[in-house]
């Protein structure tokens, strides 16, 4: 089996940066959205839930196509940034945020629904402000939801292919990630290198899921 080349290593680096950025953005934006979905009685809730879940069923090329158009120089996001975001790392992060959204939002929403408002009300009655109560009571009780969200969001972003190809192209060092690198290797019949990266991703994904299931078992949610 051939060793990984510099190009492969830089793709690994891009992949890790992309996944980390995507998960961070989704945690910050997704927490309030998941909280809203868990507790709202609004009639818009099913519509928002459907939009959040869309990337699960949509062909990545469809999602990638629309994001590409939006990011381009004449698209709304491209105009906002006053330049084309297509085929850039930033553009890739934006695309990944949409693509991995359900994998972060849904575990958080589930955890918030399981925890309910009761512990928060108790915390407020003990003089904790809303932010304080969120940090010291809700987040720890919903910890399992956060771990699932982080792990699934990270792993899913690492594994994306169609959207990355549509939006990012495969520019080494900028938008070439592991999954597209495998494709490139296969295109030129470098099966050994494709195998090395594939095996790495297979092992990584398995270990990540194993960790989630073990953590779930070790730290179940106790709702009193």
């Amino acid at each position: 089996m051939d060793a990984l080349t510099d190009v492969d290593l830089s793709a690994l680096w891009v992949s890790l940066r992309l996944a980390t950025m995507t998960v961070l953005v989704l945690l910050i934006m997704g927490t309030p959205l998941a909280w809203w979905l868990a507790h709202t009685r609004s009639r818009f809730r099913p519509i928002v839930e459907a939009i959040v879940a869309l990337p699960i069923v949509l062909p990545p090329t469809v999602l990638g196509f629309y994001i590409l158009v939006a990011l381009g120089p004449y698209g709304p996001l491209g105009r906002l940034a006053n330049l084309s975001l297509a085929f850039t790392f930033t553009g890739l992060v934006i695309a990944s945020v949409f693509y991995s959204m359900p994998f972060v939002i849904q575990p958080l929403q589930g955890a918030f629904e399981a925890v309910g408002e009761a512990p928060l009300e108790a915390a407020w009655s003990l003089r904790a402000s809303k932010f304080d109560a969120f940090l010291t009571v809700l987040s720890p009780i919903a910890l399992r939801g956060y771990i699932s969200a982080i792990v699934l969001g990270f792993a899913h972003t690492l594994g994306e292919f169609g959207v990355v190809l549509m939006v990012g192209g495969s520019i080494p060092g900028e938008t070439r990630v592991l999954s597209t690198t495998i494709f490139e290797h296969v295109e030129v019949m470098e099966y050994g290198q494709a195998h090395a990266i594939s095996a790495f991703m297979l092992a990584f994904s398995f270990l990540v899921l194993l960790a989630v299931f073990i953590l779930n078992r070790r730290f179940p949610i106790h709702v009193s």
């Binding site: 009761a118 009300e121 108790a122 407020w124 009655s125 003089r127 402000s129 109560a133 720890p140 009193s224």
Partner: protein, 363 residues
């Protein structure tokens, strides 16, 4: 004496709460009523957890809510202790950290109630290092009460804190609620639909029905009033009195109690002189005697009383409402009523055949 004033008008899809509360900030006030009468909703409004669109609330001099000016103090800025129906302890902390959660969030000069005192009153010293899910229901509820007390609240709101407990656990927690009030002097609003609990704990009752307050008064006034008579089964209440122990007589095995210048003798009680005990008299245990009794009698407890009102009960019996400084209700036969010729304003003597103390009433 400062007062709690509150007006709430709030509509839900299937329920409408419209109340006007005015109670002194002292003692234990029970919010009593059947399930679905709005007791918990009222308590949540008082805490600021439900925000009534037409709401007003003032505690002593402090304004907590005035919706006419769009003002509502959030719960975390109100000096309230709230104990929910379920303990709602934080599972990721142990008992000690749960107790200290609120304590650490008030300024040191506000801390009138300390850890030792609370642990002592609630008997939870041996639990401090335990995880929450290792506690029994009664222990959890005691910790929840302690956690609320450690915020040194000016007002304690208890929402059926015994509802989730079985009878044995109820007996475990009930005395603590009485004690904490005796020791800490925090006014308590206590939601319950359990009559026994209220008879044992409350000084005052707010009676709720279908989202409206149908009566407010002292425990004795409320439970001797007509509205309650139907609910009490065969043991109808004659009076519920808080009397002070003034003397023990070991020779005859009697304890002498005093209230409103009246004396009562009960079998000797292990209660120190000067302490107050709650006394229950059932209406069937009272007989009425006209004129001063030169007649010797075996009855020890004889109270001078004035007839206030005669209430029809059924074909054979009537209730005579007496004034002994507070209402006292005697159930007598219609035949006796006729032969004595009782009418309002008349002075007479009530012979009390039996007196039950609070502790003996426990189901």
């Amino acid at each position: 004496m400062s007062r709690l004033l509150a007006r709430f008008n709030i509509r839900f899809p299937a329920f409408h709460l419209n109340v006007d509360v005015d109670v002194p900030m002292s003692g234990i006030t029970a919010i009593f009523g059947p399930s679905g009468s709005g007791k918990t909703t009222l308590l949540r409004c008082l805490a600021g957890l439900e925000r009534a669109p037409e709401g007003f609330m003032q505690v002593g001099e402090d304004l907590w809510q005035d919706e006419s000016r769009g003002y509502c103090l959030p719960l975390y800025e109100r000096p309230i202790g709230y104990v929910f129906q379920e303990p709602r302890l934080f599972p990721h902390y142990n008992v000690r950290s749960n107790l200290l959660y609120g304590y650490n969030r008030i300024s040191p000069k506000e801390r009138r109630i300390g850890m030792e005192q609370v642990v002592d009153i609630l008997g939870i010293g041996h639990l401090l290092e335990r995880r929450i899910h290792k506690l029994s229901g009664g222990e959890q509820q005691r910790v929840a009460i302690g956690r609320a007390l450690l915020t040194s609240p000016k007002l304690l709101l208890l929402d059926e804190p015994l509802a989730s407990l079985d009878l044995l656990r109820k007996q475990e927690v009930l005395p603590f609620i009485r004690q904490l009030h005796e020791h800490l002097r925090i006014p308590v609003l206590y939601v319950s639909h359990g009559l026994t609990e209220i008879l044992q704990l409350a000084d005052r009752v707010i009676l709720l029905k279908e989202g409206h307050i149908v009566g407010t008064g002292t425990l004795n006034e409320m439970f001797t009033a007509l509205d309650f008579r139907g609910q009490l089964g065969p043991h109808r209440i004659g009076a519920i009195l808080d009397a002070r122990v003034i003397h023990h007589d070991p020779q005859y095995g009697l304890t002498q109690l005093k209230f409103n210048n009246h004396s009562l003798f009960v079998p000797i009680q292990p209660v120190p002189v000067g302490q107050t005990v709650r006394v229950h008299i059932f209406s069937n245990d009272i007989s009425l005697v006209l004129g001063h009794t030169g007649v010797p009698t075996s009855i020890l407890n004889i109270l001078e009383a004035t007839v206030v009102e005669i209430r029809e009960i059924n074909q054979s019996s009537v209730d005579v409402v007496l004034d002994i400084g507070t209402p006292l209700v005697a159930s007598i036969t219609r035949k006796s009523l006729m032969s004595l010729g009782l009418k309002p304003g008349q002075r007479l003597f009530a012979h009390i055949k039996a007196v039950a103390l609070n502790e003996e009433l426990v189901e």
